[in-house]
């Protein structure tokens, strides 16, 4: 088992390296990067621009820039000496050993071009709202998907199954943002019963994440949680309706397949009651492939979150993404792209390992 985990981790490394290269290349090619940042500004002289580029290390050869961004090269040294960190150990090793603290490998994603903030800090600040939204959505989504899928499979071709089928097809075909818009209109504009924007009620509470907010939260914890809960309803419904469709179908198909297996027939032949046959013998097997599928779906949750957050002005990663693209804040883009892609790789890895845990047949 340990061997298998190690092998999977080793396999993931080239993929993550590939991701860093793609990320860097993409941003390098991006128009509106720092090279052009002051091109149109008449008040900035050529000399000043040159100085800026030099200060940011943008005049170095591209592999050197990449090496520095990654933290393989020490920016304070030149040539091959740059490979060695301040303590004499290779620069890419963790900070306590190499003494170096620059670059992705040391957890340093650089500074925002636009605001000068630390990229890591900006992303962490935006991650909490996204984590809240995504985890609530994931929980609701999985619960409903499993229930829908299992009952649709048991009551195959019943009215319930057909209703679930139609729901799944329509949900699957529905663009997230359109559903979001329609929900905003219905619940926020026409009925005015649910908040349609933000994470907290700005009339009573400070903006989420600020220091003042946490003071307010400490004073009114229940009201704050309820407030966030109310704001969560529409974004969660939007994410769930769109994502649930594929999963409930998948679980239904998986369940139908297991219901046709010989061991289900054996379970019936043993005289077990229907619910034991279904919920013990069949469901346990039917959920095995679902474990992997969930790992593969996490990126969709993220892209779904980008648009959901934009529509509902949820102050998370999605909103940060759109804002940073709009402002050509490419270091932030790189950070988000890198972190989310790596999360996908890690999620897949966890899904594979989890699969090995839940299926006794798999031995590595």
């Amino acid at each position: 088992m340990t061997k298998y985990v190690i092998r999977r981790v080793v396999q993931a490394i080239p993929v993550i390296i590939g991701i860093t290269i793609v990320t860097y290349a993409l941003m390098l090619a991006a128009p509106g990067g720092p090279q052009q940042k002051f091109a149109q500004n008449p008040r900035i002289t050529n000399e000043q621009r040159q100085k800026f580029l030099e200060a940011w290390g943008l005049l170095e050869p591209i592999p050197v820039q990449y090496g520095r961004w990654m933290g393989i090269l020490n920016p304070k040294a030149d040539g091959l000496a740059a490979l060695i960190g301040p303590t004499g150990w290779p620069n890419f090793l963790p900070t306590p050993i190499s003494g170096s603290d620059n670059g992705v490998l040391h957890g340093d994603l650089g500074y925002s071009i636009d605001s000068g903030d630390l990229v890591g800090a900006r992303i962490i600040r935006a991650a909490l709202p996204t984590a809240i939204l995504a985890s609530v959505a994931l929980f609701v989504w999985l619960t409903i998907a499993i229930l829908l899928g299992v009952f649709a499979a048991i009551k195959r071709y019943s009215i319930f199954d057909q209703f679930a089928t139609i729901f799944a097809y329509v949900g699957f075909a529905m663009p997230t943002f359109w559903l979001g818009l329609m929900l905003i209109f219905q619940f926020g504009v026409a009925w005015k019963i649910l908040p349609v924007s933000g994470m907290t009620d700005i009339r009573v509470s400070p903006p989420f994440g600020s220091d003042a907010y946490w003071v307010y939260f400490g004073k009114n914890p229940v009201a704050s949680v309820l407030d966030i809960g109310r704001h969560l309803i529409l974004p969660v419904v939007t994410l769930v309706v769109v994502n649930i469709a594929g999963d409930s179908r998948f679980i239904r198909a998986s369940m139908l397949e297991t219901l046709g297996q010989d061991y289900v027939r054996t379970a019936k032949a043993k005289g077990l009651p229907g619910r034991v046959v279904t919920f013990k013998h069949a469901l346990r097997n039917a959920l095995l492939p679902v474990v992997t599928n969930i790992g593969l779906e996490i990126p969709f949750l993220f892209t779904g979150a980008i648009v959901t957050e934009t529509i509902f002005s949820w102050p998370g990663i999605g909103k940060l993404t759109i804002d940073s693209i709009n402002q050509s804040d490419y270091t932030i883009n790189m950070g988000i792209l890198l972190i989310t892609s790596s999360l996908v790789v890690v999620a897949n890895l966890i899904a594979d390992v989890a699969y090995a845990f839940v299926d006794p047949r798999i031995k590595y």
Partner: protein
């Protein structure tokens, strides 16, 4: 079940025992099922798939609207009507404007939707063709050549599948945001990011089909690689590719709408379903629901139809399914 008739058809000649004369009518009892051609069988099963037929119907109507709608409708998108009375919130659906009029410039929503259909369908289907072509070529090379090339290509696929694609597309699409007519650029971007699934599929088909007897037999009699690929392997790979293609069309229609909705897609002056929704967004708050509702419904119906057809094709191609 063991009770299914032999679909492959039997070429077994009617053989009668020697001890008794074989009367002519005895042949009636022999298995003499006609060998149904594969395509014929697929078509037969597809026809019985009600949802797939509904999908074909919906898609037909939407295509007809996209092709003929802009020609026959009395309004045009680039010709802004000058209404007698400005209604900021637009006008709800009426006989004259079955999908209502937008707020602000007071376009006819139906006109927008059918014009948007042209671009959105063009993007969905063209990018699918690009994606499927790239995916098939990459998958075929990977599966047929194997070894290092296979490894390299599949690692590239792994990397691309790990990226949050819509995010990457957003970033790239932004490069072309300011071009006046960037529809083809958007098509190419979507094409370049929708081949990975197909390539994995084609590769695995190549790997499995390559081992099957008929390909081994072809190799054994000295058939060239190219001929094996085009005559023996690809025809067998067509069915899953077609099904995957339907998913790509659906995904890219939604994807384009998403990117355009966020303002990074097709130039806002060109109507696409995403652009219409993007423009409609602010007017929603003044109660103008018909502006976003109808283009959204058009997306839902199109994607629904494509998915129905994809499902029908999958079932029809699946030799185990019995309609």
């Amino acid at each position: 079940m063991a009770h299914e008739p032999d679909r492959e058809g039997s070429t077994m000649s009617p053989s009668q025992p020697n001890s008794t004369p074989a009367p002519a009518e005895a042949e009636d009892y022999e298995i003499n099922l006609q060998s149904l051609g594969q395509m014929e069988l697929v078509w037969r099963k597809f026809r019985q798939h009600h949802l797939a037929l509904i999908g074909v119907g919906i898609l037909f109507v939407i295509f007809a609207a996209a092709i003929f709608g802009p020609i026959f409708l009395p309004y045009a998108v680039d010709n802004i009507p000058r209404p007698d009375k400005i209604a900021y919130a637009g006008n709800p659906p009426s006989l004259k404007h079955p999908m209502g009029e937008t707020g602000g410039l007071q376009w006819d929503v139906l006109t927008l939707v059918v014009n948007g259909a042209r671009t959105s369908l063009l993007i969905g289907f063209s990018s699918m063709i690009i994606g499927v072509t790239i995916g098939t070529v990459v998958g075929a090379i990977s599966g047929f050549v194997g070894g290092f090339v296979d490894n390299l290509l599949m690692r590239i696929v792994d990397v691309m599948l790990s990226l949050p694609l819509l995010f990457v597309i957003l970033v790239i699409a932004r490069f072309f945001k300011d071009n006046r007519d960037n529809v083809w650029q958007i098509i190419i971007i979507f094409g370049l990011f929708s081949w990975m699934g197909v390539s994995r599929l084609v590769r695995s088909l190549f790997l499995s089909i390559r081992e099957r007897e008929f390909v081994e037999a072809a190799k054994a009699v000295g058939v060239s690689d190219r001929r094996i690929i085009f005559r023996h392997i690809l025809p067998n790979a067509i069915s899953p590719i077609v099904v995957a293609a339907s998913l790509i069309v659906a995904g890219n229609i939604i994807g384009e709408a998403f990117v355009s909705f966020l303002g990074f897609g097709v130039n806002p002056y060109t109507p696409t379903w995403g652009n219409i929704l993007s423009n409609a967004r602010t007017f929603l708050l003044v109660g103008n629901w018909w502006w976003p509702a109808f283009p959204g419904l058009a997306i839902v119906l199109t994607v629904l139809a494509v998915n129905f057809i994809g499902d029908g094709l999958r079932d029809a191609f699946d030799p185990r399914s019995r309609a």
